[in-house]
């Protein structure tokens, strides 16, 4: 079961079962500090394991991000005048750094301590 917020991308890869949540990316399984809403969303996705009986079917979950969903207008369309940008085509994407990108400096230090002197097979994804 794929719980997805990008309907077209999910359709393109055609998973056996999908539940589509029409929220902005970064909220595939809910909103911050809304445990009851998130239980409703994930609970619907779990029930869909049994409700979907045709391969390639996608459920639409009945949740809306905001009344008018203006966020949809801005996705991958940087404001022409915002943030110092001069035109719509200026690249606003985050650079794809090739070294570990820690959320905090403390995390980097803690990981260094955890892994002192040896490679961590779990972190390397080769522990099997």
């Amino acid at each position: 079961m794929s719980l997805s917020s990008a309907r077209d991308i999910t359709r393109a890869v055609n998973p056996p079962r999908a539940a589509y949540l029409d929220y902005p990316l970064g909220h595939t399984s809910g909103r911050p500090n809304r445990p009851e809403l998130n239980r409703a969303i994930v609970g619907d996705a779990l029930r869909a394991f049994h409700e979907l009986t045709e391969p390639g079917t996608m459920f639409h979950l009945p949740y809306r991000w905001s009344e008018e969903d203006h966020w949809k207008d801005r996705v991958m369309r940087p404001s022409p005048k915002g943030n110092g940008r001069t035109d719509e085509t200026q690249d606003d994407r985050v650079e794809r750094f090739a070294d570990p990108q820690y959320q905090t400096e403390d995390d980097a230090a803690e990981a260094a301590g955890t892994h002192e002197g040896e490679e961590c097979l779990v972190c390397a994804g080769i522990d099997y």
Binding site: M1, A12, G26, L46, F59, T89, Q101
Partner: protein, 174 residues
Amino acid sequence: MSADTPPEEGGPYRASPVPYIDRTRDQYAGLGYEAYGWAHIDEAPPWAPVTKPLSESKLGVIATGGVYAAGQTAFTYKDDTTYRAIPTDVDSADLRATHFAYDLTDAREDINCVFPIDTLRSFRDEGVVGALADNFYTCMGGIYSQRRVIEELAPTLVDRCLADDVDLVLLVPV
């Protein structure tokens, strides 16, 4: 909830899904780049019937939001095909999110936005879900090499889920 029927139409609500593939194409064209090569799978999806009730099923999770636990090495933003095993008894305050392709603000406020760990533990505690796997798995999205995902990352995660003897796996892509 009904299959392939969008939420109610009409009014000011932008009822249509965001066309990510089209907008990526337009953005890349505007930057003078070649079109991004989205994956398109034409084969019929594999199908395994669900045979047990949810309350007797063991659930695994694979999430692509770049989640790691404090103490683990963070993901890189460049074609990182490694994964992390996150113990399902983890303190969710120790979970972090790192990614280049979505706004991390809310995930860093509450990791359940992209990794429903507390949500699923509550279902397990109530008996809605029979059991959770000992570990959930996390990886990056935005890996530009489909070959490396198909040949390296995905089979590794499948092997781990099979070894965990789960009945169901919930995928949480971002």
